[in-house]
């Protein structure tokens, strides 16, 4: 957080006339005065709402709010579902990333488009798409329901599917770029030293991949934890079964319990800060997020 603050502060400091000479050498570093107010407004827009939340938070009632049955239930469900969705994303997403990174031909581009579509698709649309596919009358869901009497929507498994749908592309994109930078030449070198393909993968490629995989996992988990649109559309809002933390926040707000909504929101803010802390080396440096995602 401190480094983020430094970066934000840096923009304002650029206005000081006698800033260190080194920072002002070259056109690239010279502050462009007319841009400063816009940048400052941008910072305000992003930072003030979070500040407002913290200021408005019912700090004294927090222990009581967190211990309430609904909160505990939603927290537990959120953790179970987001962790499950992350595991599924890793199991399916890492091989998928490998195919995208090492595949050749026009179909790879098409596949990448399909895989990354959920990144830009509004989650509520994703939820409807899931419903039409896996719902009791859906494309696949009907067949599943007729065969087993089981339907995904409005179940905890449905929440996991919705969260995976929305979050997995983050993992795929992050890991694919890592696969790309871990070039096949190193595996060849390992082979000439006597390593089988599997050994080369285990001793060379995977270790090189780990930092990116870690970042992808954290990012995917955070996205799954915060998932709202697809979940409420596909899995509904059933306390104890499909009501995750974001859904509960929404429910509390709807029912007029502002304190409860803010309290639960704070929990999610803390989690978000934790994620930021974990990924600080990747994100809180110039060009960081682009490097992580592209």
């Amino acid at each position: 957080m401190t480094r983020l603050a430094e970066q934000a502060g840096g923009i304002a400091e650029g206005n000081v006339p006698n800033a260190p000479r080194a920072a002002r050498r070259g056109t690239g570093n010279r502050p462009l005065w007319p841009l400063a107010p816009f940048a400052a407004a941008g910072v305000a827009l992003l930072a003030l709402p979070v500040l407002g939340l913290v200021v408005r938070a019912p700090w004294l009632r927090m222990p009581e709010l967190l211990r309430s049955e609904g909160a505990v239930e939603a927290l537990r469900l959120s953790l179970v579902c987001s962790v499950s969705a992350t595991v599924v994303s890793v199991v399916l997403g890492v091989p998928l990333a490998w195919v995208l990174a090492r595949g050749r031909g026009a179909w790879v581009g098409l596949l990448r488009g399909v895989v990354t579509l959920p990144l830009v698709l509004p989650p509520v649309v994703g939820g409807i798409a899931l419903l039409l596919t896996f719902g009791r009358n859906g494309l696949l869901g009907r067949w599943l329901y007729e065969a087993t009497g089981y339907a995904l929507p409005f179940t905890t498994a449905g929440v996991v599917v919705a969260e995976t749908f929305v979050a997995m592309p983050f993992l795929v994109v992050t890991v694919e770029s890592a696969f790309r930078s871990a070039d096949a030449g190193l595996e060849e070198a390992a082979a000439t030293l006597g390593a089988s393909r599997l050994t080369a993968l285990r001793t060379v490629t995977v270790p090189l991949l780990l930092p990116s995989l870690g970042a992808g996992v954290v990012l995917t988990w955070a996205r799954a934890l915060g998932e709202f649109g697809a979940t409420i559309t596909f899995a509904g809002n059933l306390p104890g079964t499909t009501q995750t933390l974001p859904l509960q926040v929404y429910g509390l707000l709807e029912s007029g319990d502002l304190d409860g909504a803010v309290g639960m929101s704070l929990v999610l803010v803390v989690v978000a800060l934790g994620v930021l802390l974990l990924l600080r080396d990747r994100w809180l440096r110039p060009g960081g997020i682009g490097g992580g995602l592209a």
């Binding site: 070198a189 000439t192 030293l193 006597g194 060379v204 090189l208």
Partner: protein
């Protein structure tokens, strides 16, 4: 071990066709321009690219000891990791997440030795290659020359039966290259198996190799000892690399030793360079025989006017086509019949007042004109222009 390779391989429409034998302790330099098939050759030997046809085998000194690595006809293809072929790649390909020591210990670890044993072994190799101080560094913290040495140590530590070096100097700057080359020569001498060194730098080939094989367009265009290749280039490409004017021609008059050059003009050759090529006293120059004629640029004298009756037997007019500063000389490209490169001192350049387009006369003593039989096979040398400036 002796490497015996009869290689027919390719990617797409490119086909490499080469036959080579490398004995224990020999360093075969494979020299050729970009796209000649050098990398394809290395990849087939390493097992990274299967042969289309042919055979690659390592034979031992013991009776009948032979390890076939690749033989499409027999259905044999030993995978890379079981070949025991050490490779030093052009881009080094060190494992970025491992220290220098662990890079060198990698082969031992993969072979199933414990961490301690493999590291101890690696430490020995590091000492031998003067890398002890760098043992704990990561590859990203190494200079180009250091990385190259680590790559060599890593390949040698795998106890290879055959060592392949793919453009090992290409990633180094000119200054480093000189140091690394001298060191590499020492380390290659200490390795007792066959070595194949791929390069496009003639100096690497001349300094490091015991034998040179020239690849052009996927075919072997010349093979021989470095001294022979340097003195009697078989193709325009080699001539340019070793800095000789080369002219294909036909013997016009064996007695007068006059050779009609394919590209125009004629030259008289006093020495037919029987040399030590084993041809003994057999006259090389028979009338009508196709020959190659080599003339060193330093043997070509440049005159402002037609020289009077002097000893040089070869005198002809030419036009200055270009000037290039070499280390301590100026190389003059000249159009004429034949065209030629001439090396003169900067002082001579100033005194002659040479500039592009200037008419001059050239002379070469017949004793400086070396004629030898044109190779029966391989690509024909380029048209009779003596190599224009190489770069």
């Amino acid at each position: 071990m002796t490497l015996q390779a009869d290689v027919e391989a390719g990617r797409g429409r490119f086909t490499l066709s080469a036959r080579l034998t490398v004995e224990d302790g020999e360093v075969l330099a494979v020299l050729g321009p970009n796209g000649a098939g050098k990398s394809t050759l290395v990849r087939t030997l390493a097992g990274l690219l299967p042969l289309r046809a042919g055979r690659i085998a390592l034979t031992g000194s013991a009776e009948g000891e032979e390890h076939v690595l690749d033989d499409p006809d027999a259905g044999v293809l030993v995978p890379v990791e079981q070949r025991g072929v050490g490779v030093v790649f052009q881009d080094h390909r060190l494992f970025p997440h491992l220290s220098v020591r662990d890079n060198v210990a990698y082969a031992g670890r993969v072979a199933g030795r414990g961490r301690t044993a493999a590291r101890a072994e690696a430490t020995g190799w590091l000492a031998r290659l003067g890398l002890t101080d760098l043992a704990d560094r990561r590859p990203a913290q190494l200079s180009g020359g250091q990385a190259q040495r680590v790559a060599l140590a890593r390949a040698l530590a795998s106890d290879p039966r055959l060592l392949l070096l793919d453009e090992p100097m290409a990633a180094l700057d000119a200054r480093t290259r000189i140091d690394v080359r001298a060191e590499l020569k020492r380390h290659l001498a200490a390795y007792d198996g066959p070595v194949v060194l791929v390069t496009h730098d003639p100096v690497d080939a001349l300094v490091l190799a015991t034998r040179i094989l020239v690849l052009e367009g996927g075919r072997v265009s010349q093979e021989g000892r470095p001294a022979d290749v340097a003195r009697r280039p078989a193709t325009e490409y080699v001539a340019r690399l070793v800095g000789l004017n080369l002219y294909p021609g036909t013997v016009l008059d064996a007695a007068a030793r006059r050779i009609l050059l394919d590209g125009g003009g004629s030259l008289e050759a006093a020495g037919s360079d029987a040399g030590d090529d084993g041809s003994g006293g057999v006259p090389v120059l028979r009338a009508g025989a196709p020959v190659l004629v080599a003339v060193a640029p330093s043997a070509v004298a440049v005159h402002p006017d037609r020289p009077g009756a002097g000893s040089p037997r070869n005198v002809w007019p030419a036009t200055v086509a270009g000037l290039e500063q070499l280390a301590d000389r100026v190389r003059v490209a000249l159009d004429g019949a034949p065209a030629a490169l001439a090396d003169i001192t900067p002082r001579a350049l100033a005194e002659l007042g040479l500039e592009t387009g200037r008419q001059v006369w050239l002379s070469v003593k017949a004793t400086e004109v070396v004629a030898y039989p044109a190779p029966a096979e391989g690509p024909a040398p380029g048209p009779g222009r003596g190599g224009p400036p190489g770069r």
